[in-house]
Symmetry: C2
Subunit: 423 residues, 2 copies
């Protein structure tokens, strides 16, 4: 049962030290590759730490992270005058895997987090329907449910990369308006069938029960396809900051269309032209026209580790770890580069690879101690490839602040410091 | 784009009201089937609740559930003399989907939860190795990682169903020693390769850094197969109650072998015969012999909803929702019965279906208001089928307290009350 292990150096797969993904797929890391284990003539006697000498603490009803992890929190800028307006960001540079813990899932709120009594909350379905319906949360939860693992990304995520000069920001500050949960709820199609859709209905206006009454117009085709009215996030009830007691999930569509604190779905012939689809969340182009009603978040990826604030500690082996996702489908491939895009090698993709869900990718990198520029480039199963920043600028310009999905770059200097750059 | 909907009654699929799973697979719920939406001549004007009239609350670093969900907590019996010895249970009857939120993941601890400083913690690999190694947590995290969604189930889960009389307990009290997370860490095989396994090594002794130094012996084949040394649980660092900063994951193997607070892996020629594999965690049979070193948790399922404490509110449509899992592979099928096992119909299985991960199953049930006995029966991809309680008793007897996996039964009475029964 002892496997034959590879004592040869792992073969290079792209320039400046990118190694073959066989390390992940076959576990063929060369012995001593990381050089981080301290070899001991005798590992005994083992140290007996203080926490082994007395019984530990007892049970609690709802557990929390270790106090030693108190720095792993959402990032936000305090705004004393309007404390609930704006966003808090998922600390992506400190997380791993695909799921975002609910306590760290980003939020974008337009008038704070309402404190909703679920027994008093109602969801109304009205407009161009045969039977207007009013649901309690308890009544909604009687319908057949579905679960799915899906990302939600704010339409404005990564917008700071539009700035003329690369800003000294970390992965969380740049890309942190994305998260992933296992969502469970009732298909919107079930509820619309129950109400009876009139033939003239082409749009569904979704409105939240926050003080902003945040509203978006959704094509009825999406509502009847894979939209869910969700009660559960990662197994438990949806968190207040993510829409308790009921939120809309539109897999792959820009974040604020996934209306939180959902209070009504109104079926209409045309879109509402609400504040959040006219003054905001339209995609300004370089010719001063704008795209409106462009909903899916395009294929994208970024490297979470190494990244700014996580300096390298000397030459040697490093895992490059990041996330890739597409609102149009599944991730087919992620490539990584350590030489600013001159050469690329495929990363290992962590299964399960699910549509409209993030994929953790990993690559092995032997840092020689010299300058390097790390990049990742994702391709989805529709064939869409992340553009370079220059390609993105040529197509759309850099005046818009939504749907930025170009390849991002981290420069490593000879001290191992990591910085956001344009390359 | 408006789908053609099925206005015919959904066809029955098994006795006493079990309906076709087409309701989940094709969304063909008959209009008005649940009868829970309140139909209104006019749904307007919509009520404006107090929380829409003032701005909501601001951002916090680490979010929490709604105060309205304060009853959704782990279940445990207070034990003032030994507060950290025993178990707390996942509140399965109040959860949905596949993922267990980390704050609600069950725990079984033998001497409380140690408060470990990750900078002081060490993992030692020694015994029959060429190079004994001592790792800091930071050094371990330099190695290539993998993520996987996997259940962990205590070997003693559901043992109360061995009692001669069915006890008045709910799903959480009976089945709550199981949970599921996305775990991320380094393959044990990578670390053992680094240490160099001596040919005589056949077992790996894993020991925790709690005051009990909880220890188990693991076949080296498992260690070299899919075992992980985990740092991350559902994206963030492993919770203290689940092994912070480092725990072992042995996908599918009984819970306490997934040693928490992992401090050493010692390679040996034979098993350690530790307290927890001799006085505990052996499977007592009816002939007073016992199975030792039977590791995988066998195929199992239970119905989370309806279940005791979640009474039905009158005849009509109900979703039956539960979990199924197998430590030997993937779930192939789950069947449900509403007549105590006289007739069965296949449930809908929620993807992704992953090996050694739980699967949420759902079935549609039209309750006629009469007595019913709900059961679920899972089959895994090795062909193993959950036995009836009588079959289980005939094979193993009912004196053991580990690895109980027989079909469980909820009786519904004419008032809609749900009770644990043997049927």
């Amino acid at each position: 049962m002892i496997r034959k292990i590879n004592r040869d150096p792992v073969e290079p797969a792209a320039g400046n030290g990118i190694l073959s993904r066989r390390i992940f797929l076959e576990g063929t890391l060369a012995v001593g590759a990381t050089g981080t284990g301290l070899s001991c003539a005798s590992a005994e006697p083992l140290a007996v730490q203080p926490w082994m000498k007395t019984p530990g603490s007892g049970f609690v009803g709802y557990g929390q992270p270790s106090p030693f992890e108190s720095k792993v929190v959402k990032a936000f800028l305090p705004s004393p005058a309007t404390p609930g307006v704006g966003a808090s960001r998922t600390p992506l540079h400190l997380l791993e895997g695909m799921i975002t813990p609910s306590g760290l899932h980003f939020e974008r709120s337009h008038s704070g987090i309402p404190d909703i009594d679920p027994d008093q909350h109602r969801l109304v379905i009205h407009g161009l329907v045969k039977r207007p319906l009013v649901f309690t949360v308890e009544a909604l939860s009687r319908y057949p449910m579905q679960s799915r693992i899906a990302f939600i990304e704010c339409g404005g995520n990564s917008q700071v990369l539009n700035a003329p000069q690369a800003q000294p920001l970390n992965a969380t500050a740049i890309h942190g308006l994305v998260g992933c949960s296992e969502w469970t709820g009732v298909p919107v199609s079930t509820l619309l069938d129950e109400a009876g859709v009139e033939p003239a209905a082409r749009w569904v206006i979704a409105e939240g029960a926050d003080a902003a009454a945040m509203s978006r117009s959704i094509p009825i085709a999406k509502a009847m396809d894979d939209a869910l009215v969700c009660f559960y996030q990662n197994g438990e009830r949806v968190r207040p900051s993510n829409g308790y007691p009921v939120r809309l999930l539109l897999p792959g569509f820009e974040g604020n269309m996934n209306v939180k604190w959902l209070r009504r779905l109104k079926l209409t012939a045309g879109p509402a032209m609400s504040k959040d689809e006219t003054s905001k969340y339209t995609i300004l182009l370089k010719d001063e026209k704008a795209w409106q009603f462009v909903f899916p978040m395009e294929v994208k990826s970024f490297i979470a580790r190494p990244s700014p604030g996580l300096a390298l500690r000397g030459p040697g082996f490093y895992e490059i770890s990041g996330l890739a996702w597409s609102g149009n489908g599944s991730i087919r491939q992620v490539e990584v580069s350590a030489d600013g895009g001159q050469s690329w090698a495929p990363a290992a993709l962590q299964g399960p690879i699910l549509p409209k869900a993030p994929v953790r990718f990993r690559a092995a990198w032997q840092w020689n101690g010299g300058p390097a520029v790390l990049q990742s480039r994702a391709t989805d199963d529709t064939g869409m490839v992340q553009p370079t920043r220059a390609q993105f600028a040529a197509e759309r310009g850099l005046r818009g602040v939504y749907h930025y999905n170009a390849i991002a770059s981290w420069r490593i200097d000879e001290m191992g410091e990591v910085n956001n750059v344009y390359a």
